[in-house]
Amino acid sequence: MTIIGDRQQLAYIASQAADARVNVELETEGMTLNIGPQHPATHGTLRIIARLDGEQVLWAEPSCGYMHRGYEKLTEVRTFPQVTALVNRIDWLGSFANEVPFILAAEQLMEIEAPPRAQWIRTILFELSRIANVSLFLGDLGVQLGAITPVFFAFRDREYVLNLIEGATGGRFHPNFDRIGGLKDDLPAGWVDETRAVMKKMRKFCDEIENLLFGNEIFESRTRGIGVIPRDVALQYGMSGANLRASGVDWDLRRDQSLPMAWDKVDWKVWTHLDGDSYARCWVRLQETRESTFIVERLLDTLPSGPVMTKVPRIIKVPAGEAWVSTENPLGEMGYYVVSKGDLGPFRVKIRSASFNNISIVPWLLKGVYVPDIITILASLYFILGDIDR
């Protein structure tokens, strides 16, 4: 660990010195490289404009807005239950996790709580979204470095999780299953046993990825000491999720705040890494995926019986007030600041999405890196376009 720490520090200093040096050493004509909006390395329509000096980036600026759908405006003309259908599409790989904080905010304003069984199932589906989301990240990671195999494994095994989500909710990508006061339905018969089997498979997938990628020399040399984010910078930019924990900040909203969810009812571990480089971010995500499978299993062991829906009026009017609820989504902290004026719909919803903050660090982070590292750094930051633009 100490050896890595030193290498780490040197790489950080070198990258900081780089942009100063390239300007002084020789007068060369720079070049502007336009990556995207349609580019295989950017997972969607993110456009990066980079000013280069040789192979080195002088400055880079992401250009957002190719997928701006104006959800904050649209929520103002929807009723509260209708909003979940919109927010599903923010982070489309972990859709169910987007619904939960909004529903919790509405429940907080209405001063109701979902029954225990609904809280448990919500948490289980939340963690399944995380597994489905992050397993694709783990596979995609290899593709950015030229390794094709992991992505096939990822798509193969994510399918099992999507089948589970489909089995319980009826929707593979956009479940729209969470309701104010509980859930739409109870779990189907046989779902619990199937989930246990799939969790074992997903742990095997994690081992596979760990053997394939994380022990790989090419992977290590492409990610260690690359794209280092020190913890105070991470905090200033509002980085969250695995990106923050990879910079050594021990903070997980599942553990550190009390919500009517079931995370605090079982025993699990928050993974952190001190390095703050691309490798650390990938490593933390891998461990979290494995931890999520344990969380799901332990929640299934303690799944209470009872109703999944509390009594709510058929036409939901949310009392006037303001509520902020955020949860630890697959991509990081996702929160909703909901302002209600006592109507059928919200007055204003501020959607705080994780990727927006996580990507806002890119201009700082890409200064002085080499062009091939842009790809690994972007991949390790892990963003979903819909989560940036909303």
Binding site: G65, E76, V77, G238, P319, E322, K350, N357
Partner: protein, 234 residues
Amino acid sequence: MLLPLQSGKASPLSSPTDSSAEATPRQDAMREQLLSDISACLGSALVQSHINVGNDLCVRVATDAWATSAAALKTSLGFDYFCFLSAIDWLPSPFGKGEEDPTAEAVERDTEIKQGLAGGETRMQVFARIVNHRTHVGITLKTDVPDATPVVPSWVSVFTGANWHEREAHEMFGISFAGHPDLRNMYLPTDFEGHPLRKDFPLLARMVKPWPGIVDVEPLPGGGDEDDAEGSAE
């Protein structure tokens, strides 16, 4: 959010605009302590505050002191994590939800501007959230945006991450941030006119075609009283 919701039948929500008279007996000792620390730290910059018991603390500061109070809270009280920054337009929408029958007579709409928690005097407010990453307690900061010249001090020198959030607030609400290095548009074309998240900016999709979801709130055939009518949830 550290304190658990006090269980079971909570008393009805007190009036959200009323910060002084908390009608409920519920207590939030942690946030009250925090509030006294904050008021000691900010002094006269703190205008009004509201404790959302068990959930949140909302503090309104003077517009001139917007950036300096953030810096003070960051250095002396450890609020070093920048969560988000955005704005609210408190004007009731002159267009409603776009669900009325376009052929019917126009309905009279509420035009009174009523600010939310921790009060306010202006139509628009900027609000932001910062968190102490050691204690995991966050606060919501608000400030009024002067109606005549919508300019507030920028947070970029305090939290670098506020850069993009202020750009977003600038294009969506037309609020300027004094001291921001580069208030380019984030999402919209450079020559776009108007500020989409302002309430007086119409949602054109609703103007040209009535919302089909309108049928959702029709009562069920043979339905009983109003509460039993078809909800829009399912």
